[in-house]
Point group: C2
Chain length 403, copies 2
């Protein structure tokens, strides 16, 4: 007998039929002799619909009231899922974030979980109830509703698994697991049996969109074994854990991230500390800079090129254009770019990795604008229009057996 | 400076425009120097929509989960109203039932308010915030969400007014106040300036549907001055209080109730205790009997006729048909009936009241099936098809100046 935490996203509970499907997965797990805690998100587009309702009334509502509003979404889905489980004849109780003990700080809209008071969860599980918990939400010290921000339900599930010392945390999505590339774009993408936390983090950051990043960080910190799997097919998913069998596959996947803008600052005065000043300016506004390329100085100036996420473009540009240190520089940006990456912890011991990637891109005539590498990934910035072609080519180069 | 509690029903906050309208009423009251606590119901058809969603999944969901589901409706409307008040530039905070201190018993679906812990309400009002409270809901000793049942938002508002010693509790509806008859049916119906709690209770029971009965009972018990008024016209409404100027008008109104069934039991054995046995049988199933008529005994039997509400018809009939004491009786029911009543505390001192009513009915050829009287009302049961004609005629007889 084990304690299993299962998390279902909004699309998994979007309508009555899907709610019943989730109820069957949950009760099958329970029937097999396990204790089960289920974490659910709001149904389908509920959160977006609520936000639209709010903006119709006030284009800048306070975050506190926005959290009050949004928390209703998960409240609806936990009640409906509990009713579905009742319908199948199993003991069940639904709990809101605060009832399940989620204490957060009071950063409304993107609150951090501080602690989970597990008394009630333990009681309900002890009473052999299936416990359905509202994801994405908690309560702060003022007794006010808070939300964890988008993707927060994944964090809720992993945090419960950690606090309750669950044997496994299953994250159900609409894909069957973690793939070597986006299976909708690359037909030969392969499902991974296992992946490490670090690899998963790189993949998530790079736009694989399977698991919320914070949830992987929590899982890594508390060593919670995660499984990513589909609520529709019930096939075996991908296990995310600390160490995996390295097997022969040293690359875990190829990802594409289009939420990226390239900003170029030409003719920056070539004096010490200039990069520091420029990037602290951006950091002061919480603008995260990714790949950075700096040219060798010439004629007393140099060029600095870097990438930011697309939604930071305007703020970054305004900041730089009004920075007196750059008054003689030329600043430009390009949003028609994409970042293609290969990720894998086995990369270090395979020196030919970068060469394989670059050769594949050359083979399909894709020009590389920028390059960035870490111990477990290689990223290149290319023209947006080449992105899908580039992913296919790179994937085929690393996974020839799949083609 | 006064403390005013204002309550707005679902239709008053049905869309963004109406929410803004409510926000303007609330902030105008606040601007005039008052402290304001606002109680709101779920928007428009939200509650019905949620119930439909539940029944699609489970036709017999537990009441606990139903309450969890339904509480989300008011959560949405308080957040939206708070955002609208923010938009107008006033300090505001929204509170769920439990945050506002509503402790109830654990009769899910129709919980009773046990106590209001007013600490937070007092703090927020003390900080000069407009406080928006979710009506209809509370929390029980198990820390579970509860609802007060349909119309519960009126009770929430009156209970807050009582607990906070508010100067007035304003119930905003889609009519301008309490009328001498349904203004949609009787064009000459007049708005009352004042009415007593007892009269209001009789009117509510008789189907006037302006104020929830329990809320009037709470108001009477704690002597909360109520005002019924419209959220659309902002005209002066009707004040409900303990004693009113009796003026010359001794009848407060004429009502029609079509949610009524007449059940006749013919040839009941004429033995002592038979009425007691019959009606305790019905009471044991929580079936409320209204008008009762019993014939003089003849040939060792008598006839008993009484009315129940329409939704109790089937249960009452089944109960009686299977009651062995009545195995030789003939039991029949008629749902094509309506109850017409005149209500007024001044009635006692005006002996001609019943005569005026009966004469008016006779004048338009309406046959009276049953009669029932109390100190402040006279009710008659008539054929359903005569109902509207009867109301008009009786209203014209008592309020000739209006015609």
């Amino acid at each position: 007998m084990a304690l299993i935490v299962q998390k279902f996203g909004g699309s998994s509970v979007a309508n009555a039929e899907r709610v019943m499907n989730v109820a069957r997965i949950v009760t099958d797990t329970y029937k097999a002799g396990n204790d089960v805690i289920v974490v659910v998100s709001a149904q389908g587009d509920t959160t977006d619909d609520l936000i639209a309702k709010a903006l119709e009334i006030n284009e800048k509502p306070s975050r506190r009231e926005m959290d009050m509003l949004l928390c209703s979404g998960e409240q609806i889905s936990i009640a409906l899922l509990a009713m579905a489980i009742e319908k199948l004849g199993y003991p069940v109780v639904s709990l809101l974030g605060w009832q399940a003990g989620f204490n957060t700080n009071s950063t409304y809209g993107s609150a951090r979980i501080k602690k989970i008071r597990t008394e009630r969860l333990k009681n309900e599980v002890g009473n052999k109830k299936i416990v359905v918990v509202a994801g994405f939400q908690g309560i702060c010290k003022y007794d006010d509703m808070t939300t964890l921000g988008r993707g927060g339900s994944d964090s809720s599930a992993v945090a419960i698994a950690a606090a309750m010392h669950a044997d496994r945390c299953q994250i159900f999505t609409d894909v069957e697991g973690v793939y070597t590339a986006d299976p909708r774009k690359v037909p030969n993408a392969q499902k991974l049996k296992e992946i490490t936390y670090d690899e998963m983090l790189e993949l998530a950051t790079l736009g694989a969109q399977v698991l919320n990043n914070r949830s992987v960080e929590i899982a890594k910190k508390y060593n919670v074994e995660l499984e990513v799997l589909s609520s529709l097919t019930r096939a075996e998913g991908t296990i995310v854990k600390e160490v995996t069998d390295m097997e022969k596959m040293y690359i875990r996947g190829v990802t594409k991230d289009t939420n990226v803008t390239r900003i170029s600052v030409m003719k920056v005065p070539d004096v010490p500390g200039i990069a520091f000043k420029l990037f602290s300016k951006l950091a002061s506004k919480n603008i995260v800079v990714d790949i950075i390329l700096q040219s060798i100085g010439r004629d007393g100036t140099k060029d600095i090129t870097f990438t930011v996420s697309k939604d930071n473009t305007d703020e970054a540009m305004t900041l730089l254009e009004n920075y007196d240190l750059l008054k003689d520089s030329t600043i430009s940006c390009d949003t028609n770019v994409a970042k293609i990456s290969v990720v894998g912890a086995g990369m270090e011991s395979h020196p030919g990795c970068a060469a394989t990637m670059f050769e594949a891109l050359y083979g399909v005539d894709v020009n590389i604008q920028m390059i960035s590498t870490s111990e477990i990934k290689i990223s290149v910035l290319i023209d947006l229009k080449d992105a899908d072609r580039a992913v296919s080519a790179v994937h085929a180069a690393f996974f020839p057996e799949a083609d």
